[in-house]
């Protein structure tokens, strides 16, 4: 550690991992993990999301899970919340999960054809 700038950039890098312990996260990605979700492959979806989000080093994202949300026929479900905005993706397989990270989380574009209208 030679300069304050060096410390700053190290802190920035390390903070991504610690953000999860603060409650002011920007974007929440929520995977529905009821029995129905898990049976439909939500575990795989979750794993891909973790992989992609960490590979792209995305910050301010909380990845979490909930129980069954009631639309079991659409599982696996992934909900992305930013403030009051909420987008729900249905039948998210590995391929879709990867695309959602790239298009929605990185480019900020909602992939309309995979969503359900709330």
């Amino acid at each position: 550690m030679k300069t304050l700038e060096e410390l700053d950039s190290l802190r920035e890098k390390l903070q991504a991992d610690m953000k999860i312990r603060e409650k002011n996260n920007n974007i929440t990605v929520n995977v529905s993990m009821g029995t129905c979700g898990i049976a439909a492959g939500a575990r795989e979806t979750m794993k891909v999301l973790i992989e992609e989000i960490s590979k792209q080093n995305l910050k301010d994202i909380t990845l979490t899970q909930t129980g069954c949300t009631g639309s079991c026929q659409h599982e696996p479900l992934v909900e992305i919340k930013k403030g009051a905005d909420k987008v729900t993706y249905i039948k998210v397989d590995r391929k879709k999960a990867r695309e959602i990270v790239r298009r929605h989380l990185m480019e900020g574009k909602v992939v309309k054809e995979w969503t359900i209208l709330d």
């Binding site: 304050l4 802190r11 991504a16 312990r21 993990m33 009821g34 960490s54 979490t64």
Partner: protein, 597 residues
């Protein structure tokens, strides 16, 4: 870097360690592995989170769900329900009282939501053995800031303007202490951390050292820069092995990162820190005794002046501050003195850490703004007195302090208002006592402590406290004489004015303070041979109220002396000639039928 979708924080403060948090942690990790979640869920061991009586406790992020009193066998459900399916395990949540709601997340607990954490900002949140987690929480930013942007004098001015006063007990303005040392002519200069926490019931210093050791190292380096010192010592008692271990690791990591050592942040500032392990003598918390002990001499105090700021370690100018004081320094540098001085009262700025112990529901560690009323600390945060008993008094400031009775519960807690009540803030230990505590006996307990811990160098402390203790022992045994109270007062005044150091000068305080607020209890012991709290064995006789007794026989079954007799379903009686006054019958009776004279 690996991303984890969930962090499971396991409290590993000493309280939770003694309630077996290690086996809970191991079981958690095992279940996480069984369910194939080890790449998604990170288990983090933290320092003390605070609510020690709820231990072992676990917090799960991102939601901040708080589970308490966990057993290893609970962890399978946490993993399969919460971590896998996102369902909160309700039976493991905390509920404050029978009629209150369950708290799901930690910030729904009264215990947490009324606190303001500055010195404890990282304790219980980060892994104390990870310098990376400390850096992620703005660690070493304050050191970098002063070294690259501010002069030593500006750094001292920050601390002065913040109004920070020493948290070790005496409450001396910290910035002023630094300035005196900076202006002293002699060289080299030293920075010392007093981590010889000795007050009965106090554990805030240990918790900070165990939970956030880097905050102390960073602050000591800041002070070293401000006063022109290159060497720091942490004097920590040997009874705190975990604190010593984590400090050692922290120092090594800081050296590795170049945050201690030579040419820190590419400046010409060098600073390194050594640990000195003390044998755990109470007197070694007194600064001159502590310095003597670091030098390898007997831990005995010497008269002041000269103060350590002029002649400290090896006769050189030395700043000596307590652990909590150090932990408050980096946030003051980062957020500015105004931010700090806006918290608290006129004469007491910032926040104070308290260790709640004794007869209180939520024993543990809390941090609140100065000026928070005692009632809020004891009843709202502390959860009040267990088993429906009445609050009697709170003892603050350890043996050097005193007790505060019920009528002063609305007093705001700051340095000056506590002094007005005849006690002190001290390091922040708070021992709460209920109606079953005899105040004469409490005074005797503290006097026994100082008597045993007296270093013996001066006669008033060595002999005076011994004589006082003898009188107190006589009183609780029912052999008190008229005139004893006056004799105690005379001895107290004499010791206060003539003892060599702070320990001796304050040794009579427990007696003076209980005499001030509970003189009638002393008088009842001496004149009526009666202990109003019903706890001094020699003065108590146990009786059974025939109206309340249901004749269940539980008392006679539990009487080791076979002093209780009676037929089933009929009132029992105690034979006072056989009774050994153990109190078993009173504790065991479900109908409150046993009473004391």
């Amino acid at each position: 870097m690996n991303m984890y979708r969930s962090h499971v924080l396991v409290c590993a403060g000493a309280g939770c360690i003694s309630s077996e948090c290690k086996s809970v942690q191991n079981a958690l990790i095992e279940n996480i592995n069984i369910n194939g979640l080890s790449n998604e869920v990170k288990v983090v061991e933290t320092g003390c989170m605070g609510p020690c009586d709820l231990g072992p406790v676990v917090m799960i992020f991102p939601d901040g769900v708080f589970y308490r009193k966990l057993k290893p066998e609970d962890t399978a459900e946490i993993v399969t329900e919460h971590l896998l399916k996102g369902k909160v395990v309700r039976r493991l949540l905390h509920q404050a009282g029978e009629n209150s709601d369950q708290a799901v997340t930690f910030d729904q607990l009264d215990f947490f939501k009324r606190q303001t954490r500055i010195a404890l900002r990282n304790t219980g949140i980060i892994n104390p053995e990870s310098i990376e987690e400390y850096i992620a929480r703005n660690g070493y930013q304050a050191l970098g800031k002063v070294l690259s942007k501010h002069s030593p004098q500006e750094t001292i001015d920050f601390i002065k303007a913040s109004g920070l006063r020493g948290r070790g007990g005496a409450g001396f303005p910290t910035g002023l202490k630094w300035e005196f040392t900076a202006r002293a002519a002699a060289a080299p200069k030293y920075v010392v951390c007093n981590a010889d926490e000795g007050d009965p019931g106090a554990f805030m210093d240990r918790s900070i050292l165990e939970g956030d050791p880097h905050s102390v190292l960073e602050a000591m380096a800041i002070c070293g820069y401000a006063i022109g010192a290159e060497k720091g010592y942490i004097y920590v008692r040997a009874e705190y092995p975990l604190a010593v271990e984590r400090l050692e690791k922290a120092i090594n990591k800081a050296l590795e990162y170049g945050l201690l050592g030579k040419n820190i942040f590419s400046t010409c500032f060098n600073f390194d820190i050594e640990i000195r392990v003390g044998a755990g003598a109470f007197v070694c918390g007194e600064e001159t005794a502590l310095l003597a002990s670091i030098e390898g001499k007997r831990g005995e105090p010497r008269p002041k002046p000269p103060f350590p700021a002029q002649e400290g370690l090896w006769g050189k100018p030395t700043v000596i501050n307590n652990v909590e004081t150090w932990a408050s320094i980096p946030p003051i540098i980062l957020n500015g003195p105004k931010w700090f001085s806006n918290i608290g009262t006129n004469t007491s700025k910032g926040t104070k850490v308290f260790a709640l112990a004794g007869k209180i529901n939520n024993t543990g560690l809390i941090e609140v703004p100065m000026g928070t009323p005692l009632r809020e600390i004891i009843f709202d945060i502390g959860g009040g007195i267990p088993n429906g008993k009445r609050f009697k008094a709170v003892q603050t400031g350890g043996p050097s302090g005193g007790c505060i009775p019920e009528e002063y519960l609305d007093t705001p807690v700051d340095y000056d208002s506590l002094v007005k009540l005849g006690t002190i803030m001290g390091s922040g230990g708070m021992i709460i006592v209920d109606e079953d505590t005899c105040m004469v006996d409490l005074a005797k307990f503290f006097l026994e402590f100082v008597q045993e811990e007296s270093c013996g160098k001066c006669a008033p402390c060595r002999i005076g406290t011994k004589r006082m203790l003898e009188i107190l022992e006589r009183i609780v045994e029912g052999k008190g004489k008229v005139g004893d109270i006056e004799l105690l007062e005379e001895l107290s005044q004499c010791i206060k004015t003539s003892a060599l150091c702070g320990l001796g000068q304050t040794a009579p305080n427990p007696v003076l303070s209980t005499l001030r607020h509970f003189r009638d209890e002393y008088e009842a012991h001496i004149k009526e041979k009666r202990c109003p709290a019903g706890t001094c064995q020699a003065l108590v006789a146990y009786y059974i109220d025939p109206k309340a007794c249901k004749g269940c026989g539980l008392c006679s079954k539990n009487c080791p002396a076979e002093a209780i007799s009676g037929e089933k379903k009929k009132p029992h009686v105690i034979d006072l000639t056989k009774c050994i006054k153990c109190g078993n019958c009173k504790d065991k009776c479900k109908f409150n039928a046993v009473f004391t004279s």
